[in-house]
Amino acid sequence: MRRFWVHVLIPVTIAGSLAFLQRTGVAQTEEPIRPIPPKVGFDSDRAAIGERLFHDVRLSPGRQESCASCHPLDHGGMDGLPVAMRPDGSSHLRNTPTVFNAALNTTYNWDGVAHTLESHADRIIRKLMKISWNEVIARLRSDSDYTSAFRAFYKDGLTRANILDALATFERSIITPNCRFDRFLRGQQDTLTEREARGYQLFKRYGCITCHQGINVGGNLYQKFGVFKDMASHKAPIDLGRIRITNVPRDEEVFRVPSLRNVAVTAPYFHDGREPDLTKAVETMAKVQLGKALPHEHADLIVEFLRTLTGEFRGALLPACTMEVRP
């Protein structure tokens, strides 16, 4: 019996401990970017209501625009315009971020004014659509499909809070898992070409990774736009960024670091959409954020890596967003 202990159990225990240590060792050298889980849990009934609302033009005063007008799901989740166009035809100050994977960001809008998807949707309806909640609720009440669906899946039926919850639930459901880079992170080393893998190494080595990290490759911190160079565009009115929210001097020209997931299909780039070309955008970032002129070859390699971040939505790779002027 004693022999059993000495010869079997002790080695097994040591092996187990070693395996554990090895695992934690792996955890320590873990990549700064984490893959999106292939499946996320959400309430599919509520998400279905949310999807209908997302495409419903009754959320705009003139019954012309819906959430999907600026965030078309078949075009990378954003409109492809340098800056968004308001329902009244005037230009918004900033570029539309994609709605895909929005749930993985910690804050919303370029200045981080909204901390939840619900408050973001609320702001859009009140400030961008410029429609009152009473009007929205009255319009939706007249639709028996909505009233019965809300009654079925929400205790208190059709209310402002439940409309926002349905929209947010839908937004939480539209993530784009399974991009090639995520598969690489999960251990399929051969998923990336040699050039793409080198691009990733350069991405890390140049320090892009210090801001564009985490599950959403960004989207979880703020940074000054133009650390080493004043980036105020002289063409457009100067956008002061986050200072408009916080009133703290150090937040001048500070913006939320955007997620780089699906970056290849969500041109143009930067908060004011000034750059339609991804390679040029990478070079600009290196120059103004890192104080470094990137060799052209390196910028190309990094862009090749960035293209591996394009994920799948409903089983198909996200199609590229072509710039088009809406009718």
Partner: protein, 544 residues
């Protein structure tokens, strides 16, 4: 009214007890548990945040996702505390809300600092990397006098500064950077060294200051204060609940006392009812006894009248016969009557006849008394004054009174209302009571007092006969009205006197009772109700 009231009182007390029970529960228990939970979560999430911030500074944190998560959870915890605290009420709740507001502000500041720290730390890390990289490339390449000296100096100064960050070290590093910056105008490859060096100096100070803010225990103080405020709130609530528990106990005692009181009243009522029932049974017994007695009395009276009549005839016959028999004795020597010599019988027979007559008379009296007891006729109904009747009765008893006592007092009240009924029967009652009183006296020094009075509340005229006599044994008191109950058998009492008295008083709708202390005396009291008219009459007289 009387029937409903105890029920209403009991129902009221029960309602009060229910209210007190509800109030005596510890208040807002669920809310406080939720808040306690939120506070604990907050401490946990803050610890996580602090850990991750320190790891980020040390370059061990792979990404900022966990910081974002902790921030969101902290915001949720604060929200939970805020929402739950609105339910709380009372003076201490204000303190709790103030503490939560302070804590919320503290957390808000902390999260802002964390955001700045993330931004600055990112810049710092990059610039440190670039600085080292530039240092390597510059160091390997250059070897031309001043340039390599300045680079070495910068390298040294920066190393010093990164290690200690003292004002001197910072100044030295900045000076070295300024010199390199000046040199870089001619030698542009030095430029990154100057630029990133400046970022490092600037950001390192900023990051460490922010780090100090973030991990400072300021929110911990608020958390502790909130914890105390919540404990104080709970203690206050508990005190209040304890007060209500005490009240609950007291009201329960009152309820118990009231129920006991009701039970006592019920028992008294039951006793009274039983007594009334006994009286009723007694009265029925008397009535049937009366019927029986009157028929027997009639049957006895007829033969007795013959005996009485015949004894008279027999007496006068004996008077005549005695003359003849005397002559016979004178002629002849001796002869006997009923085996007794005549000379002896000559004296005895008149005595025998007298005894027959006395016996018959006694029978006659008893029968007459029995008749009076059984069927006292209502007789004539008249208005009379009690005082007059008392005086009439006493005139009859003057002899007996003088024989029995030296201390007889009569206290007659003025202005008594008149009574209606049969005054002779009342006179008989008074005679009976006074005779009883007199006969109870063991010697002449004891007193008898007769008092009349008017009791306005009971609308009755009363008479007390108070004696200092031997008193009545307690066990006899209840039997006084029974016919043939007597303690004076030896002296020839028939046991009908008080029975008749009781009957007569009852016929006048009056009351008769006795209060007696054995050895000290007895008070007999009769009360006779007055008529309305009589009362008005008295009032008129009094008013003048």
């Amino acid at each position: 009214m009387i029937k409903g009231r105890p029920f209403a009182i009991v129902a009221g007390l029960v309602l009060l007890l229910t209210y007190l029970f509800i109030e005596s529960r510890p208040p807002d228990h669920g809310v406080r548990a939720l808040m306690q939970q939120a506070l604990q979560n907050m401490q946990l999430h803050e610890a996580e945040l602090n850990r991750d911030v320190l790891m980020a500074r040390a370059g061990l944190l792979r990404n900022y996702d966990s910081l974002g998560r902790s921030a969101r959870e902290l915001a949720d915890d604060v929200e939970t505390l805020k929402v739950q605290s609105t339910v709380l009420s009372g003076k201490k709740a204000g303190v709790i809300r103030n503490e939560i507001a302070a804590l919320s502000a503290g957390i808000q500041n902390k999260l802002t600092w964390v955001e700045y720290l993330k931004s600055d730390n990112a810049l710092l890390r990059n610039s440190v990397a670039y600085f080292n990289q530039s240092m390597r490339s510059v160091g390997v390449e250059g070897n031309t006098g001043r340039r390599s000296i300045e680079v070495a100096k910068l390298s040294h100064a920066m190393l010093q500064f990164v290690q200690s960050q003292e004002p001197g070290a910072k100044k030295e590093a900045q000076a070295a950077l300024t010199r390199i910056s000046a040199l870089s105008k001619e030698q542009p490859d030095l430029k990154p060294l100057a630029v990133h060096g400046q970022v490092v100096v600037k950001m390192l100070a900023s990051v460490d200051a922010l780090l100090a803010h973030v991990v400072s225990p300021s929110t911990g103080d608020h958390e502790e204060a909130l914890q105390h405020a919540m404990l104080a709130y709970a203690a206050e609530g508990e005190r209040r609940a304890q007060g209500f528990r005490l009240l609950l106990y007291l009201v329960a005692l009152v309820l118990l006392a009231y129920v006991l009181h009701l039970i006592a009243r019920l028992r008294a009522r039951a006793r009274e009812l039983r007594r009334k029932e006994m009286q009723l049974i007694q009265a029925n017994k008397m009535t049937s006894l009366g019927t029986l007695v009157s028929s027997i009395a009639h049957e006895i009276n007829n033969p007795n009248q013959i005996v009485l009549m015949n004894s008279g005839v027999l007496a006068s016959a004996w008077t005549d016969a005695a003359v003849v028999l005397d002559n016979v004795r004178n002629d002849q020597a001796q002869f006997s009557l009923a085996a007794i010599p005549y000379c002896e019988m000559r004296e005895t027979i008149p005595q025998l006849i007298q005894e027959i007559e006395d016996g018959a008379r006694r029978i006659e009296r008893i029968v007459s008394d029995l008749k009076t007891f059984a069927r006292p006729g209502r007789g004539i109904q008249e208005r009379f004054h009690l005082n007059d009747v008392v005086q009439r009765a006493l005139r009859l008893l003057t002899h007996l009174v003088h024989k029995k006592t030296d201390d007889f007092q009569l206290r007659l009240a003025d202005n008594l209302p008149y009574l209606e009924g049969n005054s002779q029967q009342i006179e008989q009652v008074i005679v009976n009571l006074v005779i009883n009183a007199l006969e109870a006296l063991p010697d002449r020094r004891r007193s008898v007092t007769v008092t009349t009075y008017f009791d306005a509340t009971r609308r009755a005229v009363g008479l007390d006969v108070q004696d200092d006599g031997v008193g009545i044994a307690e066990e006899h008191l209840s039997r006084l009205g029974e016919p043939f109950f007597t303690t004076k058998e030896a002296t020839g009492g028939t046991g009908l006197g008080l029975a008749i008295t009781t009957t007569l008083i009852r016929m006048h709708n009056g009351r008769l009772d006795f209060v007696s202390t054995p050895g000290k005396g007895t008070r007999a009291r009769i009360e006779l109700p007055c008529h309305e008219q009589a009362l008005e009459f008295v009032k008129l007289e009094r008013d003048g």
